[in-house]
Symmetry: C2
Subunit: 194 residues, 2 copies
Amino acid sequence: MYNYPIKRAPYQAKKISNSNRGMAFEDMINSSNEQYLSRDIAVIYKKPTPVQIVDVDYPKRSMAKITEAYYKTPSTTDYNGLYKGFYIDFDAKQCNSTTSFPLSNVHEHQIRHLERVMKHGGIGFLLVYFNKLNEIYLIDSNQILEYHNNSKNGGRKSISIEDFRSNCILIKESFPIRVPYLNAVDILIDKLKK
Amino acid sequence: MYNYPIKRAPYQAKKISNSNRGMAFEDMINSSNEQYLSRDIAVIYKKPTPVQIVDVDYPKRSMAKITEAYYKTPSTTDYNGLYKGFYIDFDAKQCNSTTSFPLSNVHEHQIRHLERVMKHGGIGFLLVYFNKLNEIYLIDSNQILEYHNNSKNGGRKSISIEDFRSNCILIKESFPIRVPYLNAVDILIDKLKK
């Protein structure tokens, strides 16, 4: 018989909002997508980072070792997939500011891509994470395009947190699906059906 | 005034079927997707090859040079995108045989992926190029699953060219869209609507 010292920390409900502070937004989305996939809710993946491979070594017959490569600029957004028969396409953006999201974070080719997605009947959006406020919003392609065009015509170069709060869909962090953004997509789908 | 020697090869209609012999099937598909994109017909991309990056060097402040990386096995198919509001998902397979397509060319995870795509209302398929016969077929997820399950139960481990010829959709090479596979997808969409 062994006498184990019984010394337990008092039980504490884990504050989800804090537990994610150190976790990159991308990891939170990836983990949510894994949950969605394993629960058979949606089929959404992050695209691999595009890499230009210059040189490959074969230290063993069966193994290829890439010895020189460079990052390429992606031509689209990072995430796409399928949910309830809809083509889903989005990018995840982390924002350090507490007051606004700079439009310069969205590249021109991403704007063009989201425009095309919208035109061909897909659902495109950005997920914006204000990490210091711990607030996540879904902003749809239509809205982004409007802000983008407005800024090209001399308007604001950023979207204020007030605008997010009053015009975009708030996504509450949760568990085990950390960023349950498909709840927000359901709202977009309802709008599309009307 | 200059006198240019006039020496022209007699005009010959380029035989498209031969001109592609040296071109990898993947390049033919990529070039078709570029055409579809620039003509605003569809938004379909090849996913970047997934690479596990181990070491990165910074020879200049602004430049990252990847010095050690390895190829990873993709968890899905190579191509996906959006066409006429439908989520499109497929893989391109080149086949050297003139008699049959070995099912071992389709990995188990690709089968599972195509099954999910089908279940969630997307359009999934394989494009199979018999390069020695110069014949391209679209075989849809349903058909692949049937052959796959059949082979698991002791059936044939390959799909005969006769089966492709009688049950799959032939895609005729063309120009400037080398592999106009969306014509075949239109047939699948018509079936879905019925």
